[in-house]
Each structure stands twice: as structure tokens, then as C-alpha cells.
């Protein structure tokens, strides 16, 4: 069984390795999130907003030209059609309702590509809550439109200037900000990372993805289970959402696409399961990229959302026990797949998502296999990167 235990572990991975200063916050969340989430009041508000505000259910679209090209029955789960353009908002809607129920006044968040920052700024505007987003200086430069979107929505964007100045450092800054201001503040973590209960809580908010996939597949294919689900993994929230209701259905293959950057052995990569080893990062025990002295390595990916040296503990566990198939996709190949999907299906994917598309070239399947690719986000935010890459 893939299930978190009462101490927050998935097998060897997880837990809550946090400074004592955050203990009350984490305990408060741990003690309350399940009962709040189970309440009818919460569910009504959450489901209502997912439907009317986010635009759920998102379509499960049969991609006929892509299917023909690759020789399988390929469906795209259209998270790119969510309000704000990616799956990230499923989680921020859930967490902001939770934060309100806990009586919090202020929201902080970290962001890489800016998608989670935008999704957080959006729900803060919706609920009239004060919002501060920490973002690496490097990411501020390469995801500029999202920075402006957050500001338009009324959020304050604070540059993280330490370390590699990307997602890892933005997460450090957000954690420090929480330590500095623990009482009225809720930290909306954007992926299935961080101390327990965040990884499980975020996965549950995102699990609406596979919940819908099941009945949608039933309608279209007459069966709830696909043969393969493919998703990209930065921290792993869209993947956790797409895998969630299939974790314990072994006949469904779970494929996770990591970013290989300029190549596994180039020194500029974010392929955590290939290059990483067990360690503790951002409050949980997981697999992370580090030196033999235990210093966290600065990753690289062309997509800011995958540019993270760790993965969520549940993914470390899926990898560890062989339940997940992990593939590593290079920048160049992801970009090609982004263009390919644009040409074949008229959908320009986020570059993170393009990694999942390319995985079709790396795994085995047969022509009757039903494959669902989680189309985690749209490519609007990445136009600059597409333009710079230029091969289209």
C-alpha cells in the first residue's frame, strides 16, 4: 500500500524535519487538516470553487493525431485549461480555504516558474488576503510575465538572492519568512514537498485530477484504469495528483518525467532520481541532488518549474520500491516535444509539461494501450523560452 503513515513517512521517506520554531504551525496543520478537509462545509466550498472558478472538471481529451504518431491511445488530461493555466490552482484553492478556517490572516508562498505564485496570488485576491511570494532572482528574470501577473493580482514578490537564486532558495526564504512571522501566517507550499503533512495534503488537493480521470475514462473507454499515466515531476504535485487514485492499482503504470537539463552527466541537470541520494531537504527525507559532503547541488532545467534538486517524498518512495518508472528528458527534447504537440494538437504546452510528452519516446507500450498524459500547464508563460529556442 502506498499510504502515508502517522509520522508522515512513505516508506523511508517523508517526516517533518523542521526547526522547533515551526513546530506549533506544523502541529496545528497536522491536527486539523484532515478533519477540516472532511467537513461538508469545506468540501462544498472547495468543490464549488473548483467547478465555477477553476473550471473543473478539466476535459480528458483524446489526442488522435498524437495517438496516430506514437501508436497508442493517448489522452491528455487538460490541466492547462484550469484558471491561471496550470494544475497549481487546485492546491491553492484548497489551502486558502484551510488557511481561512485556521484563522490565518496572511499568506506566503514560494514559486519557481511563477505558476504557483500566480495561483496563490489569485486565490489571495479571491479571498481578500495579504500575499507575499518568494521567487529566485534568476526565475524572476526568466518568468517575467508571471511576476507582473502576481503584482497585478496584488501580491508582493520578494526576490530570493541566496544560493542558486531559483526555486530551492525561494523555498528557503519562504520558510525563513514563516519562522519570522509564525502566528497569523499560513505558508502555501506549491508542491508535494516540505514537512509532513504538506506532501500528503497537497497530493490530496491535486488528487481531483485522477479522481476525474477515472470516471472520464470509464465514459470514454469503458474502464476506469488506463494502462499508463505519464506526468512531469518537479516537486511532483501534478504527478501525485494524476497518480493518486492509481497508487495501489499495480496494473496501471506510473511514469514520472524528470528534467535532465543539458544531459545527465553534463553537471547541468535536475534528474533527481538518477543523480540524487537520500537526504533531508526542506523538511522531509527524500532523494536529492547533493555533493558527497551533503551540500545541496544547484540543479538546471530549461523549465523553471522542474528546476529543483529534490522530489516529493512520495515520489522517492515510488522510485525506491519500483512502483514508478522514472525517465529523464533533456532540455532539447522537451522543447521539440513542445513544438510537436503544438503542431499535432494545437496545444502549446508549458515546458514542464513538454517533458512528460517526450516520455512517449522513452517508454515501451503497445498500440492498444491507453495512455493518459497529465497536461499540467499551458505554454503562455514560456513564450520567451520558445522564442529564444527558435527551432519552429
Amino acid at each position: 500500500m502506498i499510504k502515508v503513515d502517522e509520522k508522515g513517512f512513505y516508506g523511508k521517506f517523508g517526516g517533518a524535519y523542521i526547526p522547533e520554531m515551526l513546530h506549533p504551525n506544523i502541529e496545528e496543520l497536522k491536527d486539523n487538516y484532515e478533519s477540516i478537509m472532511a467537513s461538508k462545509e469545506f468540501q462544498d466550498e472547495f468543490r464549488g470553487l473548483l467547478k465555477d472558478y477553476v473550471g473543473r472538471p478539466t476535459p480528458l481529451y483524446f489526442a488522435s493525431r498524437l495517438s496516430e504518431k506514437y501508436g497508442a491511445k493517448i489522452y491528455l488530461k487538460r490541466e492547462d485549461l484550469c484558471h491561471t493555466g496550470a494544475h497549481k490552482v487546485n492546491n491553492t484553492i484548497g489551502q486558502i480555504i484551510l488557511a481561512k478556517k485556521l484563522g490565518k490572516k496572511r499568506i506566503i508562498a514560494e514559486t519557481g516558474a511563477g505558476q504557483h505564485g500566480v495561483a496563490t496570488a489569485t486565490v489571495c485576491a479571491l479571498m481578500g488576503m495579504d500575499c507575499t511570494v518568494y521567487m529566485g532572482e534568476v526565475d524572476i528574470a526568466r518568468q517575467h510575465p508571471n511576476v507582473e501577473r502576481m503584482k497585478i493580482l496584488g501580491a508582493k514578490v520578494v526576490p530570493a538572492t541566496s544560493g542558486s537564486k531559483t526555486l530551492k532558495d525561494a523555498t528557503n526564504e519562504a520558510m525563513r519568512a514563516w519562522i519570522n512571522d509564525p502566528v497569523d501566517t499560513h505558508y502555501i507550499i506549491g508542491s508535494v514537498v516540505g514537512p509532513h503533512p504538506y506532501p500528503e495534503m497537497v497530493a490530496r488537493f491535486q488528487s481531483v485530477i485522477s479522481e476525474e480521470m477515472k470516471w472520464q475514462l470509464k465514459e470514454k473507454e469503458g474502464r476506469e484504469n488506463p494502462d499508463i499515466v505519464i506526468a512531469c515531476v518537479g516537486g511532483g504535485s501534478n504527478a501525485a495528483g494524476a497518480f493518486y487514485h492509481y497508487y495501489n492499482t499495480p496494473e496501471v503504470r506510473l511514469v514520472a518525467a524528470e528534467a535532465a537539463g543539458l544531459g545527465i552527466s553534463s553537471g547541468k541537470s535536475a534528474a533527481t532520481t538518477v543523480l540524487g541520494t537520500p537526504g533531508v531537504l526542506h523538511g522531509s527525507k527524500t532523494i536529492l541532488m547533493q555533493t558527497e559532503d551533503g551540500q545541496v547541488v544547484e540543479p538546471h532545467s530549461i523549465s523553471a518549474g522542474l528546476d529543483y534538486p529534490g522530489i516529493g517524498p512520495v515520489h522517492a518512495h515510488l522510485f525506491d520500491i519500483g512502483r514508478g518508472e522514472f525517465v529523464a528528458v533533456e532540455d532539447e527534447d522537451a522543447m521539440k516535444s513542445g513544438i510537436e504537440l503544438s503542431r499535432l494538437e494545437g496545444i502549446i504546452p508549458a515546458i514542464e509539461t513538454a517533458h512528460a510528452i517526450y516520455a512517449l519516446n522513452l517508454i515501451e507500450y503497445s498500440k492498444d494501450d491507453v495512455i493518459v498524459i497529465n497536461l499540467s500547464g499551458r505554454g503562455d508563460k514560456d513564450l520567451d523560452t520558445y522564442i529564444k529556442w527558435g527551432n519552429y
Binding site: 509520522k7 513517512f9 516508506g11 523511508k12 517526516g15 517533518a16 524535519y17 523542521i18 526547526p19 522547533e20 520554531m21 513546530h23 506549533p24 541566496s162 544560493g163 530551492k168 532558495d169 528557503n172 520558510m175 525563513r176 519562522i179 519570522n180 512571522d181 509564525p182 502566528v183 541520494t277 537520500p278 537526504g279 533531508v280 531537504l281 526542506h282 523538511g283 527525507k285 536529492l288 547533493q290 558527497e292 559532503d293 551533503g294 551540500q295 545541496v296
Partner: protein, 277 residues
């Protein structure tokens, strides 16, 4: 952490008295007030400064030496200590190198020595190898800010005891009375009282609100000694903190002193003198 969740032999057989009487216990037995602990980052400002800094801290008259083990992602630290960590790593410090530097330090240093570090570098070194090495070179205690009490009890308590290492927990103004009592029960040296909400970093002055918190904890009559840290920087804040505890810990302000120093030994001694005068 099941991978490391191994059970260790009872500590009594190998080191009969080590956990009960190391230098930290002796210190607090003989000195109940105005205990000064100085934190510095190993390998900063220069790689080989570790030992000279320790000697100067001792010569200056401090009571405990707290050596920071540099880490790329120190989430409980503010900009001053973050910078010192980055520079130390650029200088090439590692836990291995630090232990090499520490070999034989007991010939010169008699003060209790505590290592303060984040879990990950220690886990990569190997927790048992680390503890063993600590004992071998003469380290007395550990402060691991991202090792919470439960994880400590589940995975490491027996190991630390086996190697005679005193573990120190933090408490903050948010820590509930119940939890403070639990922490007191599981501590056997001193408790690190974080003075206010926040990461490390020299702030100025001590507020009424902080004093209320100091008094509240003082009134609990804990079995362990208490040192107040975060925001202690000079004789005034040191004295104030000492009124409500057994002493204080200075980190960021000390890092600033060594960072700007042209003569480490002189400047460190002079700084400590101004604090404890």
C-alpha cells in the same frame, strides 16, 4: 528514517559515565549565571581559521564554543550566518575537513565544544560515524536545528548517548508549556531559548514582550539550564538575557566581528571582553 533506525546497545557498557558528566554538565554545575556561548562558522572567514578562533574565544573568557557546520541551505539562519556558510563552503570546508582541523584540539581547548549543524551533511557523513568522530576529537554536544524531538527520540537518542554527546533542543516564544516540559524531560544539558520569533540575526535590544516570555519560562523551574540566543549582541543584551536565564549565546554579532577583523585573536578577545565585562 527506517534506514538508520537501528537500535543501539545500552550506553552503560562502553562509556559508563560519559553521558552524565561531560564538560557541559561540569560547566553548568560550577557556573549558574552569565554563561556565554559563542557561535562561529567553521571555515570562515578563511578555511584554516577554525582553531585560531576557538583559541581566541577561550582566551577571551567565554564559556562554551559552538562550531557551526556549514550547509548550503540553512533555513533557520538569517543573512549574516547564511553568508558565512556560503563563504566557508566556497573556502572548501566540509565535515571531513572540519574533523581534521579538530584533531588534537583538546591539547589547547578546555571549554565545552558543541557542534551546531543541519541534518543533511551529517547524514551523508553517516550519523554513527559522525558521533564516533565527535567523541574521538572531544566534542561534547550537538545542536541540530532541523532534528525535531520526536525524530531524535525515534532514531538518534541512544546513539548520541552511546557516544557521550549532549543534545540541545530549541524552544521559542511559540513553544507551549506542555512541550517545554517534554523538551526539558528529554534534555540533559541545556535548553536553547530562541529569544523571539525569527531566524538568527543580530537585532537591537530586548523588548518587554521578550522579557515576559523569559520570565514565563524562568518560572517553570526546569531541570535543565537555559541559554538565550538569537539577537544577543553586546554587554547590554547579554546581561539582560542573563537576568532571566543561565546565560546567552552570541552568533551573528560574533560573525560580524570576525568578518571585519584584521587581527582575529585580538579582536575576538576584545569583543568577548566587552560583552562579559
Amino acid at each position: 528514517m527506517s534506514g538508520e533506525r537501528c537500535l543501539h546497545r545500552s550506553s552503560d557498557t562502553r562509556h559508563p559515565s560519559s553521558i552524565y558528566m561531560n564538560r557541559i554538565h561540569k560547566l553548568f554545575e560550577s557556573k549558574k549565571n552569565r554563561v556565554l556561548s559563542i557561535y562561529f562558522t567553521a571555515g570562515f572567514p578563511a578555511l584554516e581559521d577554525t582553531l585560531p578562533i576557538m583559541e581566541a574565544i577561550q582566551a577571551g573568557g567565554a564559556d562554551i564554543i559552538e562550531i557551526g557546520v556549514p550547509y548550503s541551505d540553512p533555513i533557520a539562519d538569517g543573512p549574516t550566518i547564511q553568508d558565512s556558510n556560503m563563504i566557508a563552503l566556497e573556502n572548501g570546508i566540509s565535515l571531513k575537513k572540519l574533523f581534521n582541523q579538530l584533531a588534537g584540539f583538546r591539547e589547547k581547548i578546555t571549554l565545552p565544544v558543541v557542534l551546531m549543524g543541519y541534518l543533511n551533511p551529517i547524514m551523508q557523513y553517516g550519523m554513527e560515524a559522525f558521533c564516533k568522530k565527535c567523541q574521538e576529537v572531544g566534542v561534547d554536544g550537538l545542536i541540530l536545528p532541523d532534528l525535531p524531538m520526536q525524530q531524535y527520540l525515534d532514531d538518534y537518542k541512544l546513539l548520541f548517548e552511546e557516544y557521550g554527546l549532549v543534545n540541545t533542543f530549541l524552544i521559542s516564544p511559540q513553544t507551549s508549556e506542555k512541550r517545554i516540559l517534554e523538551i526539558d524531560q528529554h534534555s540533559n544539558g541545556f535548553i536553547y531559548m530562541v529569544s523571539s520569533h525569527g531566524v538568527t540575526g543580530a537585532k537591537t535590544g530586548i523588548t518587554e514582550e521578550q522579557i515576559t516570555y523569559f520570565k514565563r519560562v524562568q518560572a517553570m523551574k526546569l531541570k535543565n539550564s537555559r541559554l538565550i540566543g538569537f539577537g544577543i549582541s553586546d554587554s547590554e543584551t547579554f546581561s539582560k538575557a542573563s537576568e532571566y536565564s543561565n546565560g546567552a549565546i552570541i552568533g551573528s554579532a560574533f560573525i560580524k566581528t570576525v568578518k571585519n577583523s584584521k587581527n582575529l585573536s585580538e579582536d575576538i578577545q576584545a569583543y568577548i571582553q566587552t560583552v562579559i565585562k
